[in-house]
Structure formats: structure tokens, C-alpha cells
Symmetry: D2
Subunit: 312 residues, 4 copies
């Protein structure tokens, strides 16, 4: 496919164009910590099968990873309970906005997939069971540091506190699931852990590092350490493709053609199986809540590299 | 990857196992023509990039392709109106059963994607516009014969007549869309064409032939004829992956990991980009309305070939 | 309560005020025949227990009774099949707009009550069964003429034809119910009878005459002829109160406090049990599709007469 | 209508028959305090315009009034904020079960009426605003004691605690409304007051006393004290009629024909305007969650007294 110098050039080109574009989407405004972030920023990092990093723009600026964290909590929960997880959460696209409660009423409190809010809360609850909130959160944070090979990764406590103070919709989702027995722990504990892992701050470089195992059959290239089985890596990728961008997942697959997961902080991770792990970030969002420039950048990257999983 | 003798063997193995399995799903019973088909049958055909065919079981038995036809009508409609099609139909997973009308009420009569019934009816309406029903149907049939390189392909008129006689739910969907202006032609004309293209009878071998262009960047291997652009082939594959199996699309992606489209007649086509086009058939369906053994056969095929688009 | 001269005066006062008011609502525009009607018109007729008529304004102008007809088709259908009717239609408020199809999907094709469109179509189907459409329509028309004691009442064929030409939403509802077996006759026959009885043209005076039996325990005062049992009259009144004004039924009960039924032509009939039958008409509608001035006129009438069923 | 001796006899007859009947419905089981109550009990109390009480069966046994309390909190909230209340809650039947959250999503967090759970929680929040929970609860309790003229009325703390411990669905509703700004106070405070007023324990005699003002134009007969204006009394009655029995309100109007409000503890109050206030109690519920024998008893009472508001 592409040789290294090409990929560096592509990444530089994309960052240059993204930093210049006038259309930047709308920054999330529901908490002040996110509303304050400048939409002028754009970062990108791509790590290939040899571990070589191509990065550009604000690739080292930490941002709130928000829902991107859900890929990693899903991985942890599958590691903890295996396929029993699928009794607590489905794996079908929702056909609804990320915070819809309607689907829960229709389906007995079982969320449709691990990437809508309700599903991610249920996944967090699985990780929490048998632990204190502090322990569960520590486990998640250690996992992120291990994957990214960077012990400096931390939680933005101000973001977590803000989310907790205003997160009535998530409290509704959690209580609703609790009424069906889908949540086992006290709602405030589960939500506490959830808000904190969403408030982890990471850079594009760190996220692309963390996502490497998904691009390489569950194994971290260079170190050779196995994180999950090849089959599990494929399956997590499949769920990212069908459910990773809320009610814009079909459009993302159509335009970009890579498994990916977005967060309301403007970050997106994407996976080109066998080729590279990718993270992009730009705080402005489109109507579906996904990074506006992040999606466009990924579309350009795939066009120039031919990495679409749907054909050359 | 795999060499030819291996693929032949794999296909033989799968057919052998599928013909023996006791669990066969439930044959569709809503019209007598489908209810009569024996669930004991199983066929498979795989065509690789060189045009070599590996086929086994009831691979030459014709069956009612039903919703599998929707991939080809989508291709035709995109050829006719291009991206203007997306004003009439979305491309997001529905999160609902194939014949749900609820989503239409919520979204002003615009169906969520081209593969649920409402969306496929809207696509048929696009093909019909400017033509008489007979002409539109002729165009669809000629396209199928061209793609499969087989002029013997025909419509099972008894199936079409039966569907038309009992298709009140589809008539509801079509009239509902018509009330929002999403359907342009007289409802009975659009439905007439729709029922007839769903009633096309084809074998696994013929379907795998017809799907070749999707596996090979829009080009038919061996002849080198271009059917669609590479980008359009990728995009159709993306829609198949996110929406191809109704409310079981997420599960199909999770288990099989290939773009595909199923029909209530028990057929499924699947696409391994760059590698092969595939058709399987077994009339017994699972709870989501997809071929029970067809899905299991594809899961086995992908496991043995490593063709998952989500990684090795 | 009120003596005759008082009631005459009240009715005159109301008509005078209603004809002068500047706020007149919006005339229905979905067919040209209704869109053409002048919103300047207002009529009222009140018939007391002695058969004395107080009428004012455009009380003799015929208008399209539309959904007001549903009270009388319900009466006919109950006369034909009795309580077996309730297997085909419910009697709960719908909590949805008059033409919603969502509820039908949730409840297996059984409409919530006889006064939403789907329910009235199901009721029409009951009347039609065993008859030709022409016969069923003749029976409905004869019943209206008998109740109003006026053989001049007729159907506005232009309205019926217009409704039929554009009634795709109703065709969707009917086909949807047919798919569940709730509709027995060919959909086009049932809809034909439905559109025609909705297109009956009557004046306020005629409608108030027709509604007398509901105000007087099932018996027409003056003639003493029994139309239904006292219990059935009460029950029809109960359904009018809970379901008579689509998704504005609660508000109508709250403001007016009488059983009533409105139509999109701007007519409303209301019943003060033991006291009077009432018809008002003004073509301008409010947001819920009920006559704007008609509702206000009834509110004034109840205030001045003390006829609310909910207390003095 | 009826003379006193007749009414006494009717009430005795009904109690006798109800105590003997084999069909008793199903006692609510979601908290142990309600599950323990014997379904063998039946009580009835009727208070006429002169203040004479006809009572029979377990008419003095206290029971958990549950949702019957919602009539009285609605009265208090209207007294506090008047028609501004209708910005926080609607007054249309819901067309859904009592604890549905779907409607809230469709209508921006505004509950459909004050008698479904979400609406009653919003009403409680209005009463709470500007007060401490203890004060608000004290006000509600004093109001009940005043209306029933009985200072012995109290709250069953075990019931309140049990509800609070298991009330995740209500917590979901409250948090959901809070996310739309419909709830002003801390969710746990509002729910605390809500659970406690639902846990008030009263007998049929006490409830019939408390409901007198609704039957008599807002005035307590015998004392002549005005509780609300006549218009407000009528309007509360109207809301009881259209919304008082969850998704069984239409059926209650159809069968009984009186404004009423039921509770899951098996109590129902009903109002015959100008004639009597009524309370019945039997713990076994029907499928819609209303007292099975309570509804049948009211049907008998109305048949023998001719008190239906829908005609003689």
C-alpha cells in the first residue's frame, strides 16, 4: 500500500487543510468545560503496523475523550464476563439519538448496543460489580495507560463533576435500566464511574496508541503483547462500524468505510484492520454529534490510502 | 490467502455439514409458494477474483430471491438519479423490524434505508418514474441477466401474484409514503414492480455471479466490464453491512463480518472485497427473518478463509 | 334551569359575538372543496327536551360534517353487531393525532377508539359487511335523514371524490388494519363508504336534530321514538367525552364539559344529557383540528346555562 | 332521585355482593406492604348532598391511597400557582401505561396529565417549590385532614420507605423531566414528598369525606366551607373523567360514567356532581391496575341510582 513518507505527507496535508477550513461545526455546550474549548483546533495521529507514528496539527493536545472511552470499557467488560455481557446489552444499531429512552421501554430495559449512553452505562455497571467505584475507575485508567503506554493519562475531574451535576438524562437511563434489573450496582456508583471514564483526557497520539490492538488482531504491534483474541478484536470492530457514531453510523460507514468511535469532545478513533490505528480530533460537531472535521479528515485519509474495508 | 483447491474443499465441507444439521429454522409461511419449499435444501456458490466458481449442495436450484433483489434495484436507482436518491431514502440502520411503519411517521415518510421494505419500495418508485411498470420491470430483469450472464433468469409469476394479493402491509407503507410525497407513481404500479422483482428466481450460482462487481471495485472480473464506480461499489457494500439484515444487521456484522443481504426466501449474498462474491441458500429462517443455515455457513466460510473485513 | 326565552337570547348573543370576533382559526386546506369555505361563517342550533329549537347565525347553511358522521356510524355499527364491535376497535383515548399509525403497530392493528380515523374506518367496515358499498352508504344516509327528520340531506360527491383522490394516509391505515385482519372487506370498498359518509352535508339545525336521541336516553323527544337503549346512549356519550376531539379531547372536557364530536369541516355536535342537543359550526380550526369558534361558543353556552356534566 | 333509606340499602347490597364474589383481581405485589393485604376485603362509603353517610363492608379500614392522593395534590398545586400549572403538565389522556416514559421523550419532558406518575411527580414538585420537603408534606397531610375532617389521618412510613427503595422507574421519570427543566427541586426531595403522599393511609369513609367538595361545586356540604371555585371543581372532575384510570380511563367512563380516580392500593374515589361523593376499596386489581371489585361496585351503584353524568 502506502510507504511511510507518503503517509506522513498525507497526514500533513490533511492537518493543513483542516486547520484552514472555515466550516468547523458546533462545540458541545451542555457543560462549560466543553463549551470553552476552541473550535480552531485539529489534530491527527496515524500509527501503522510497524508502530511508526504519523501525526500533525494539535496531535498532542489532550481533550475529553468522552464516548471514545466506551470502546475500551467494552473491551474490559468482555474480558471480565465474556459473552455473558450480551444478556445485559444488545449489539444492534439503535435507530435513535444517543440518549433516547424510548427503545429501553420497548425492549425491557436492555439497551441496544454498548455505544449508546444506556449501553455504555450498563457496560460500566458490569465492570463495577464486585468492586468499589474507586477500584473500577482505577482499573479503567490503568488499562488506558497500558494501552497507550503512557502513565501520564489522567481524568479531568472538573469535567466529571460537571457531567455528574447536570447528567439528569443519564440518571433517567440508569434508573430505568435499574427498574428492569439491568443495572446491579447503586445507580450513583455506576454513574460516578461512567462520568469519570468519559472525562479521561487524552491526545490523538495517545488514542491512536491505545487503539492499536484493534487494528492488529488484538495484538499490540512492536511489543507483541496480546490484548484480546483476534476474534474479539474483529467483533469490537464490527460493533464500532454498525453502532459507533450514534444515529450517524450508517453515514460514517458510507462515507469513511472504517470501524470507528466518536465522542462529543470531538475525538474519533478509527481502525484500518491490518494497516493502522487512527485518531483525529476537532471540537466542532455536526448535527449527529460527531466531529465535523474529524469525519471529513478520515474521509480524506481513506480516499488517499485506499484503506476502506469495503473495497479498493 | 487461500488457494483454489482449498476453497473448493471448504465449500464442500460447509455444504456437507449444512445438509446434515438437524436445526434448519422455519420456512416463511405468509404465502403458499414459499411455505411449500423444503427446508432440507442448502446451496452455496463462491466466485473468486479470477472468476473461478466453487459451488456445492443445491447450488443450481432456483429460489425466490426476495429482498436480495434490493441490492440490485438500489444499484439501478443510483445509476439513474445518483445522489439525489438520498432525498427519498436514508442510509441509516432502522432499529426496527423490516416492515415497521412507526419510523415513517417519525421521519416524515422518508424510509431509513433502501433495504427495509419501505425503502426498497421507494427505490422501486425511482426506477419506475418515467416508465411503464412493464418497462421498469424489464429493465430490472435485463440487469439481473446481464450481471449473472444468464438469460434464463425469470420471474416466478405465482409468487408475485401471491405477494400482491396478500401484501396489505406493503400497501400501507406505500400509501403512507405517498401521503408525504415520497412515492411519485400510482401506488399499485410501484407495488406491482416491487412484488415482481422480489419474485425473481435465481440459484446460488447465478446470484454469486450477479454480485461479482461488488467484490471487485465495481468491475466484473474476467470480462473487465465496469458496472459502477469503485466508490459506489464500496458505498453499496457499506449499506449492506449496516442495513442488510433488517434488525439482525448488527449481529450479522458481529458474527460473519462481511457485507451481505438476505431475503425471506432463504438466500443471502455476501461480498469479501477484493476476494470473492458469495451466495448461500437455505429456506429455513431465524427469528430475525434471515436464513438460519445461510448465516452459519457464511460464519464458517469466513472463519476458514480469514475474509472478515474487520481483521485477520 | 333556563327558560325558553333565556335560551333564545343566549344563542343569539353567542352568534352575534362569534360573527364579530377577529380570531377565526384556519380553514382545512387538504382538499380544495374545504379550502374554499369562508371562515366568516358561524352557525348554532340548540334543541331542548321539548323539541324547541333555538338557532342563530348560519344555522341553516349546509357544511361537510366529516368526522361528526362517526358518531352516527358508531351507533349503526353497535345496532348491527352489539358489543362484538369492541373486538375490532377499542374505546380508550389515543394520546396521538387523528391519523397516527404508530398506535396500530403497537396494538396489533386494533384502533384505539371509533373516533380516530383508523377506528372510524373499522366501524365503517362493520357496517359494510354483508352489503354492497352502495347499500351500506344508503343505510347510513337513510339513518341520518331519519334522525334529522329531513329527507333533503345528501352527500357532496365532489368532496367525497376529492378525499378519495388524496386519501393516501387513510389508505395506509386501512391496508395496515387489513394486514391484521381487522378490516374484512376490500379496502377500496370500505374507504369508498367512509369517504362518502364523511362527505354528508348538513346544517347545524339538521345536526342538532340528529343528535337529539343522545341527549334524551336514546329517545327522540316529541316523537318518542327510541333509537337506542338508554345505556347505549350513555355509552356513546362517554366515548364522545373521552375521545371526541382527537388529541384535544381532554382540553374540550376541561373547558366545555359536554360530550361532543368535532369534524374537520368545522362542525361540532354536543350533548347536554337530559337538557339539549347542540350543533355549532365555524370552518376555522385550532391546532388540534377542532373548530376554533365552535369550541369557544360551546364554552360560553355551558357557562351561561350551567349545563356542564361535571357540576354546577 | 333516591331517598336516604334506598341509598343505604343499595350500599348494603353492593357490599354484600362484593364480599361474596369469587373473582377478586390481583393484589399489587411490587412492595411487600401492599402484597400482604388480603384481597378478601371490600369497603364502600357514599356521602350525599346533606352530608349523610351510607357505608358498608370494610368502610373504616385504612388502606394505602396511592394515586388517589393525586387528585388532592392537583387541587393544592392549582391553589398555589393557578393556570401556570399547565406549563408544567398537560391535561390530555396519555394513551399509555401509568409509568411510560416514551411520551415524555416525544413531548419535551412535559407529562400528559397530572394523574400519570410523571405528571403527579411534576405536580408534587410545584407544591414543594419554596418549601422544605417536610413542610410540603405537612401541608399535604393537613389538607387531607381538613378535607376529611379527621386529624387521625397519617402516613404509612413503611410503605413510603419501601416505595423509595424500589422506585427506580419513578426516579427515571423524575430525572428525565429534570433534564428538560420540568422539575425544579432536587429529584430526591420531590420523589420523597411524592412517595410519602402516596403512602397516606385512609379509609373509604375518610376518602368520601375528603372528596365532598368535588361533588358540590367546590363547597363542603354541611359546613358550607369553600375549598375551590365551582369552575375549578368542574375542571378537576373533567380531568378525573378523561385521565383518572390510566389507560383504562375510557373504559371506566364507558362502564361507570362518573369522574373518578383509582390507586394501586385498591381504592377509588368517584364523584356524582350535585349528588354524592363516593369511595370504594378492594385490594385486587384488574389488568389496567384499577380495583377490580371497586369498579364493578361503582357500576352497580350508578345503575341503581341513575347517577351517570352521561344521561338517565
Amino acid at each position: 500500500m502506502t510507504t511511510r513518507p507518503d503517509l506522513d505527507q498525507i497526514v500533513q496535508d490533511i492537518a493543513g487543510e483542516m486547520l484552514r477550513r472555515p466550516d468547523r461545526g458546533e462545540v458541545a455546550r451542555y457543560i462549560p468545560e466543553l463549551a470553552r474549548v476552541s473550535p480552531e483546533q485539529f489534530g491527527i495521529a496515524v500509527i501503522d503496523a510497524d508502530g511508526a507514528v504519523s501525526a500533525a496539527g494539535d496531535c498532542d493536545a489532550p481533550f475529553s475523550i468522552q464516548s471514545v472511552s466506551k470502546v475500551f470499557t467494552l473491551t474490559l467488560a468482555l474480558g471480565k464476563v465474556g459473552d455473558r455481557l450480551w444478556k445485559r446489552v444488545g449489539r444492534e444499531p439503535s435507530g435513535s439519538p444517543f440518549n433516547s429512552i424510548v427503545q429501553l421501554e420497548r425492549e425491557q430495559g436492555v439497551p441496544r448496543n454498548p455505544f449508546i449512553n444506556a449501553g455504555a452505562i450498563a457496560v460500566t455497571d458490569v465492570i463495577l460489580s464486585g468492586h468499589k467505584p474507586r477500584e473500577a475507575l482505577g482499573e479503567i485508567l490503568r488499562f488506558m495507560r497500558f494501552l497507550a503506554d503512557d502513565d501520564a493519562i489522567s481524568i479531568d475531574e472538573a469535567v466529571a463533576a460537571s457531567e455528574q451535576r447536570t447528567g439528569f438524562r443519564n440518571a433517567a437511563l440508569a434508573n430505568y435500566m435499574k427498574s428492569f434489573g439491568v443495572i446491579e450496582n447503586p445507580v450513583e456508583f455506576t454513574l460516578g464511574v461512567y462520568y469519570h471514564h468519559c472525562a479521561i483526557a487524552m491526545s490523538c497520539r495517545q488514542l491512536a496508541m491505545a487503539a492499536r490492538f484493534l487494528a492488529h488482531s488484538g495484538v499490540q504491534p512492536t511489543t507483541g503483547r496480546s490484548v484480546v483474541t483476534p476474534e474479539r478484536a474483529r467483533r469490537i470492530n464490527a460493533i464500532m462500524l454498525t453502532c459507533g457514531h450514534y444515529d450517524g453510523s450508517g453515514d460514517f460507514a458510507y462515507r469513511v468505510g472504517l470501524p470507528g468511535k466518536s465522542g462529543v469532545g470531538g475525538g474519533i478513533i478509527a481502525v484500518a484492520p491490518g494497516k493502522a490505528s487512527i485518531a483525529v480530533w476537532s471540537p466542532g460537531l455536526d448535527a449527529a454529534g460527531n466531529s465535523h472535521l474529524g469525519r471529513i479528515a478520515l474521509e480524506m485519509l481513506v480516499k488517499r490510502t485506499g484503506w476502506s474495508i469495503f473495497g479498493a
